[in-house]
């Protein structure tokens, strides 16, 4: 009944629960559907995201870990050059090894079965700290980040506070 993907996801869930990385909580929404997870990521220190907590949903394909999951921030915008306005995260580790439409990513940065949910979440954390300006998913945010950094930081801090209901 349980497939390679389900076994692998369960194993990752167990590892993330017994030995969680700093500032990260992740697991399936319910164990009845191992292909749908929810994760919380703390904003990295020393960035405008500091102090914030960001919720994201991860959707895994049936052939995980051959193909990567998709990740989407939910419940409020994350104003960031590499996050689409609808919340979908765009970073190299979430791109399948085959396609590289932009030809700037190394194969080693992209998805492969030796990566994991933990590595994705850690990559997203460092993405929050250091946006990749090369292929913005949110053009407006990228422009703001490049040209009006203080406005960008203020906007991010506002969103962080709103995200916590303050």
């Amino acid at each position: 009944m349980s497939t390679v993907a389900q076994k692998r996801l369960f194993h990752e869930y167990k590892n993330l629960s017994t030995n969680p990385p700093d500032g990260i909580t992740a697991g399936p929404v319910t164990e009845d559907d191992m292909f749908h997870w929810e994760a919380l990521i703390e904003g990295p220190q020393g960035t405008p995201f500091e102090g914030g907590v960001f919720a994201a949903e991860l959707k895994f394909p049936k052939d995980y870990p051959l193909s990567p999951p998709t990740m989407k921030f939910v419940g409020g915008g994350v104003w960031h050059p590499n996050v689409y306005p609808n919340g979908t995260v765009c970073i190299s580790i979430l791109h399948p090894p085959g396609d590289d439409p932009n030809h700037y990513e190394h194969a080693s940065e992209r998805w492969s079965p030796i990566q994991s949910v933990e590595k994705i979440l850690i990559s997203v954390m460092s993405m929050l700290a250091e946006p990749n300006d090369e292929s913005p998913a949110n053009v407006e945010a990228a422009k703001m980040w490049r040209e009006r950094r203080s406005d960008y930081e203020r906007k991010v801090r506002d969103e962080v506070r709103k995200g916590l209901g303050l």
Partner: protein, 189 residues
């Protein structure tokens, strides 16, 4: 024109056709026999899908495509099984020198990723975490309820217990962040 060239008349054409038919048949049959002879390896999936080979060799560039083809051929083109085998450290066997991979014409092959970008589910956009996780009661309790022993990790053999532990870790993380933010806002005001 057969009249002008008597060397190529109907009967010689027929003979040629019959002879080539038997030659081709003999070739095909010999191939089939060889398959039976070398055991199960040729029984099924004796054609390797290049998309699958490509998929695996991109994930594991250090492996030889010949080894990958050999393994795929033997497990009937099961990419997941081959990957599992590589990941569990068993490695791939070296194919015998007689192994001649037959490569199929490229087809749709590799399973496509379901693009979940258009998921309808995401509960109420623009909602803050407190209302999303129904934490307003706990926020009002001002931290007295939130146990100080913030359970950093937890695993249980019981499914419900695991679910509860995960939810608690989530709630604790959000409430702690909220508390810190509250103090920060108060301090700066």
């Amino acid at each position: 024109m057969p009249d002008e060239e008597p060397s190529l008349n109907i009967s010689s054409l027929l003979t040629l056709a019959v002879v080539s038919f038997f030659v081709i048949r003999w070739f095909l049959k010999r191939d089939g026999d060889a398959g039976e002879g070398s055991g199960r390896s040729r029984e099924r999936g004796n054609v390797v899908n290049p998309a699958q080979v490509e998929q695996i060799s991109q994930m594991f560039p250090q492996l030889s495509t010949r080894d990958i083809m050999w393994d795929l051929q033997r497990n009937g083109g099961n990419v997941a099984a081959t990957t599992e085998r590589i990941l569990t450290g068993r490695g791939l066997e070296t194919p015998p020198p007689s192994f001649q991979p037959q490569v199929a014409m490229p087809q749709a092959g590799a399973p496509t990723v379901p693009t979940a970008a258009t998921s309808a589910a995401s509960k109420l956009e623009g909602q803050d975490l407190i209302s999303r996780y129904n934490l307003s009661a706990k926020v009002a309790g001002d931290g007295t309820e939130t146990s100080q022993s913030s359970s950093q990790s937890g695993w249980s053999q019981n499914k419900e217990e695991r679910q509860r532990l995960l939810q608690k870790r989530r709630d604790d993380m959000i409430l702690a962040a909220r508390k810190r933010m509250e103090q920060q806002v108060k301090a700066s005001a």
